[in-house]
Amino acid sequence: MSMRPQGLVGCLALMLSAEAAVGQIGPVVIEGPRPFGYFLGDVIALDIDAPAASGYELQRASLPKLGPVAYWLDLVRLDVDEASAGSVKHWRLHLEYQNFYAALDARTLVIPGFALDFTSAGNRIEAKIPAWSFGVSPLREMRPSAQEPDDLLRPDIAPQPIALHRYERAAGGFGAASAGLLLIVAFDRAWWPFRRRATRPFAAASRQVRADLQDADLQDADLQVANLQVDGGEETYRQALLVLHRSIDLTAGRRVLADDLPGFLAAHPAYRLVEAEFSHFFSASRRAFFGDDASGAIRDLPPTLLIAFCRRLANLERTAK
């Protein structure tokens, strides 16, 4: 248990060290906690204020060392800080001692004093820090009633499991965040269950076109043509074109044909980046439907390019709205 110095409770010891040159060092003030009622193991904190004329520096080597001070006393902590006030510099020492004296009766013990060296341009002054006494009390009765040696000791402390609530809370938080963000992302990208989002026709078209043309071997343009020409593949390709047409119409809010393209791009500037691809698509479409030349259209705009164009549109769509 640490006894912090407290203004009113604390005992204030004023001590003017005799041999310090008058006006250069001192008076040294020790502020400590109550000076009585301590047990084995208690930590006692002392605050020392040593004012020195500016120019005088504390020699760190003269500070007490951490560790055993006496066989029953350890210095467990030592902090030094300094504060200037006009022509005086206050050197403040915070010392924490731990008492290991096993008292059999109440008695007074003394934390020994020490000397601090201050130097300034070859002048050396020693400031005496006075001893500090306090009263210790016994922890146990003189003659314990326990008969068995094992009863003399306090029992072992049983191991405790690791507290998991920190990890549970973190996992719960991240889980909720992931679920929420997944919903938002699904909405943004028109994933299930937001597939039919009115404002994401290109996302829906991209998905459907990809699904429709999936069966065709997409590696090689000639093979694609060959594959699409069998088993009504050309019809599938036309369907895919129609799907994309419909999504363009949905985006524009009206029918869009090749001639309407400039008007469409003016109303939806986000798609200006793919103006060339639009023209490419419309020319392929005209060839497939009005020129009745599906295989030529497939050669002109192979499924791979068509799918890439759809994907590009879906991406632009997300940045547009």
Partner: protein
């Protein structure tokens, strides 16, 4: 002036629209990473707790050198209760390095208790010379426990018991730098110690 602000605002809005999809995916990725990491920690520590519970029931469980301090402490207690003091000593070094002052203090206390029980055993068999070093080691254990955690009152109490068995005296005059604890003979009026001539 106003036009400039409106323009900046429009630019920012455009920037946000372009970046939104990417930012959302990034956030989702981070949240999933966090979920995986915290879930893994939860799973691993729950497994540690299982080992701790098994050790408390007296079943030995393998414990790696890099195990967290509470698990090392549980194994230490298993060794202590099964009189495997040498293995316990090896674990003490690991626990010292594993950090966590509260666990280190408790481990020191229990280890000191183990040494005290051994010493009592020797005293009852009339071997005070073998008991004395153990008691001195136990005192150092209790002191170390109290340095780590002054609020560990059981360590204060047991240190008091050990100190009454062998009191400390200054080894040198108060002038000397070296003021380490010295030891004197055993107190002979401790319960359970045979008195008189053998």
């Amino acid at each position: 002036m106003h036009k400039g602000v409106a323009r900046v605002r429009q630019e920012l809005r455009l920037l946000w629209r372009r970046a939104r999809s990417t930012v959302l995916i990034g956030c989702l990725g981070l949240a999933i990473l966090g979920l995986i990491a915290s879930g893994w920690l939860l799973f691993r520590n729950a497994a540690h707790n299982k080992s701790i519970a098994a050790l408390a029931l007296g079943r030995d469980a393998p414990v790696g050198d890099d195990a967290p301090a509470p698990l090392l402490f549980a194994r230490l207690q298993f060794f202590i209760l099964h009189d495997r003091i040498d293995e316990a000593q090896g674990l003490m070094d690991l626990i010292e390095r594993a950090g966590d002052r509260a666990v280190r203090a408790r481990a020191r206390l229990n280890f000191g208790n183990a040494r005290m029980r051994l010493a009592f055993d020797l005293l009852q068999r009339a071997k005070p010379d073998s008991a004395a070093p153990l008691i001195n080691l136990a005192k150092e254990d209790y002191r170390q426990a109290l340095r780590l955690d002054p609020d560990l009152w059981d360590a204060r109490y047991n240190l008091d018991v050990a100190m009454r068995l062998i009191r400390d005296y200054p080894a040198f005059d108060s002038k000397g730098d070296e003021m380490r604890a010295g030891e004197k003979g055993l107190w002979t009026d401790v319960p359970g110690i045979p008195r008189g001539e053998p």
